[in-house]
């Protein structure tokens, strides 16, 4: 009996395992997924003038509308899905030209709605591949949306387990979906092309490179102001032109490319780049200096009720270019010291100007002085917490930059 029981129980278990372990509910063929590479979030737009009689345009617009369960559409969500058979690895058109006329290598679908999740499910009424976001590269937000606040359009993206915290977020003053419409000359998809641009942060500091969804989430949850890169585009190119400053979840202004360099300098986010200064001995001579290493420390200076922020920075630079060559004293210490002092003056002055601009024009603490107080002078922070933005606008800053010139290149 015992033997039989044991045999029957084994048989039962085997059958059970055969039934429950033959497959997976979540099994999905890789080629049946709609890999979403980019999301663009715009304000919904009425038909532009001149297109009222354009039937194909009207039909497209009809597809973009969805019956909403609540309210009116607040956003136009566009997703970019690659058309894999059209992908190509070599530059199109030969000799590096002619990409714009190619038929699109991606399928961009737009829907008007007020909930991204609802719109996302509605895409399934037009798309026979389920949208899959695990490989999402970029999110592009239109400036008008950004100025109204990014928490509502980003909430689902932050909440959904399919999304990744390293997805990069950008802002554009153009219609965001137009950035996804770009046909890059080398890469296949605009989203991939754009996602790779911040990697060039070692070459230039004119663009913010810490721009991912995780950072945005930390800033929003921690109530810390932040910056995101601003992009513009042509039919085949995208360019990062500076930074959008956010106060809370609302965009409040912009920083130019040069201001972005110094904002990154203050945030200790310089990975490389270039600064150009006038030679001290002759202002007509321009010196181009390559930033090799920049380390910045921010510390509060608390003296009674008076709070200051000390920005102490050490930069290692190389002389990359000089508008007057054959300078005979190039190897002398005086020459080196002169460049170092010139760079120091220029950097300190630009840092101060950038801070002044942000304090007075934007009023957003994108430099995270608040965090410095919270971390290094928590008692002082508690005193100023309630009036922080007022304190921030009038905060005194002490800048001390130490510059060290390492190489001057291969010629004097």
């Amino acid at each position: 009996m015992k033997f039989l029981l044991s045999r029957y129980s084994k048989l039962f278990l085997s059958l059970l395992f055969i039934i429950i372990m033959i497959g997976c509910w979540d099994y999905k063929e890789i080629e049946n997924r709609g890999y979403v590479l980019g999301i663009a979030i715009d304000k919904p737009k009425p038909l532009p003038k001149g297109y009222e009689n354009d039937q194909s345009y009207q039909e497209e617009k009809k597809l973009e509308r969805m019956e909403l369960q609540q309210g009116e559409p607040r956003y136009a969500y566009t997703i970019q899905i690659p058309i894999l058979p059209k992908a190509q690895v070599k530059p199109i058109g030969g000799g590096g030209g002619g990409g714009g006329a190619e038929s699109s290598r991606s399928w961009d679908l737009t829907l008007l709605g007020n909930s991204f999740f609802e719109a996302n499910r509605e895409f399934s009424t037009r798309l026979n591949y389920a949208p899959f976001y695990e490989h999402l590269k970029v999110i592009i937000i239109n400036e008008k949306v950004a100025r109204e606040g990014i928490i509502p359009p980003l909430d689902m993206i932050l909440r959904d387990p399919e999304m990744r915290r390293r997805t990069k977020v950008f802002v554009t003053s153009e219609e965001a979906h137009k950035i996804l419409d770009v046909t890059p000359r080398i890469d296949d998809y605009a989203a991939m092309y754009l996602a790779d641009l911040p990697r060039n942060a070692t070459k230039t500091s004119r663009m913010p490179h810490i721009t991912d969804l995780g950072e945005v989430a930390e800033s929003l949850h921690g109530q810390v102001d932040f910056g995101l890169p601003i992009v513009i585009s042509t039919s085949d190119e995208i360019k990062i032109i500076g930074a959008a400053a956010f106060k809370g979840d609302k965009m409040v202004g912009r920083l130019s490319g040069i201001q972005t360099i110094y904002a990154k300098w203050i945030r200790d986010a310089i990975k490389g780049g270039v600064i150009v200064i006038k030679a001290r001995h002759n202002p007509n001579i321009l010196l181009t200096l390559e930033l090799k290493k920049v380390k910045t420390k921010l510390r509060p200076i608390v003296d009674g009720d008076n709070v200051k922020i000390l920005i102490k920075s050490k930069a290692v630079i190389n002389l990359a270019e000089e508008s007057e060559t054959r300078y005979k004293d190039a190897l002398k210490q005086d020459f080196i010291k002169n460049i170092e002092q010139g760079a120091k003056d220029e950097i300190e002055s630009n840092i101060k100007e950038t801070i002044k601009y942000v304090q007075q024009e934007l009023g957003a603490d994108i430099f995270h002085f608040k965090v410095i107080l919270q971390k290094f002078a928590p008692k002082t922070w508690e005193q100023v917490e309630d009036d922080w933005y007022e304190v921030f606008r009038n905060l005194d800053i002490v800048v001390d930059v130490d510059v060290e010139l390492e190489y001057i290149g291969t010629v004097k």
Binding site: I20, W25, G214, H221, G222, V371, P378
Partner: protein, 362 residues
């Protein structure tokens, strides 16, 4: 009980017991109180866990062939002993059921979103049941095999996450004072209580040579893993952000992205670790629960006890309606666990100590 294990085998029992499914969510629970000083809470509780581990060992030495539940009956007498055993039974059964449910919810969110939870739960229970039917020796071998794999994947996660850390998130040190750190430490009591597996497996050991050393090493490894994961979470996200994350450790693994386009989904590596982590912890809870119930019913019928728990596990694991209810019930069960770790275990050791002293005086 056949004595078939070597003293070094205790390591995998302790480490697998202490590094549990709670590793996924515990950073949030501690940070709620201790903020950026949470890692100190882990170290404090780690020290206490080592002490508790030694107490279990010390009690086990006095009653070499008895499990902790049987020792309780000896120390407190039949009536109070049974009450304590009942408390342990409730704790272990609920820990197993909610542990499996937490694992299922985690896996549903991140991997198998359309697989019915009853199948995930059933498969885990059946896998544990099979190991248990094969005996403690088999369990020990499985745990020994899984241990290096789990530690290697955790090490890889640590290594890959280093790029995302910001030391400033650890400041200010000790600003909130001692109280929040101790409150945070209390949150660690539940995962560290599993060090109590010592009290259930000691009767299976051939010898106790160097056992103290192995206990210290295994508790230290477990505490180090929790401390490092917590430090990484704090340094990567900051304490404020962690409070918003349901499973901070999974989010940490999902935050890894290398410059080059390799390991785009590095979290799969960690997924490969936390499934065996859960399995091994559940297996040990099942083992402890079985041995405890055997003491409660004073029976030697292993199989009856093993099989009879299955429906109970299923019902309790399926009971919570949502993840919020899972965490609520875990909190309730943690209170019971804290009663065991802070009161029952030290009290048992103290009574035994005084009993022995009185005996010696006589």
């Amino acid at each position: 009980m056949s004595r078939e294990l070597e003293s070094i085998n205790i390591c995998s029992f302790i480490i697998h017991g202490m590094i549990s499914i709670r590793l996924l969510s515990i950073p949030r629970a501690i940070v709620e109180y201790a903020e950026n000083d949470s890692w100190i809470s882990v170290l404090i509780m780690g020290g206490y866990a080592l002490l508790i581990g030694y107490l279990f060992y010390w009690l086990g030495l006095r009653y070499k062939s008895l499990t902790f539940s049987q020792i309780c009956e000896k120390v407190y007498g039949k009536f109070f002993g049974k009450i304590i055993i009942l408390g342990i039974a409730i704790y272990t059964i609920i820990s197993f059921s909610l542990g499996i449910r937490l694992f299922t919810d985690g896996i549903r969110i991140f991997l198998l979103d359309t697989t019915p939870i009853i199948f995930i739960i059933t498969i885990m229970i059946l896998a544990c049941l099979y190991c248990l039917l094969k005996g403690v020796r088999t369990i020990s071998i499985i745990l020994d095999m899984l241990l290096p794999l789990i530690l290697a994947f955790i090490l890889l996660l640590v290594f890959l996450s280093l790029k995302n850390v910001k030391f400033i998130h650890l400041r200010p040190f000790f600003y909130g004072g001692v109280k929040p750190i101790l409150q945070g430490a209390r949150e660690m009591a539940d995962p560290f209580l599993t060090v109590g597996i010592i009290g259930y497996v000691l009767p299976y050991f051939k010898n106790f040579k160097k056992m103290k050393k192995w206990i210290a090493i295994s508790v230290s490894i477990s505490v180090a893993v929790y401390t490092i994961i917590l430090l990484l979470c704090i340094m990567a996200f900051g304490s404020t952000e962690i409070k918003y994350l349901i499973f901070p450790t999974i989010t940490l693994s999902k935050s890894i992205m290398l410059e080059s386009n390799i390991l785009e989904r590095a979290e799969s590596l960690y997924m490969a670790a936390w499934i065996p982590i859960t399995f091994s912890t559940l297996l040990l809870f099942y083992l402890a629960s079985t041995l405890n119930l055997k003491a409660f019913f004073n029976t030697k019928k292993d199989r009856v006890i093993i099989f009879s728990q299955v429906p109970l596990f299923l019902v309790l694991a399926l009971y919570p309606d949502n993840i919020s209810e899972v965490f609520y019930l875990i909190g309730w069960n943690e209170d019971l666990g804290q009663l065991l770790i802070f009161l029952i275990v030290p009290l048992t050791a103290m009574i035994e100590f005084f009993k022995e002293r009185r005996k010696n005086l006589k």
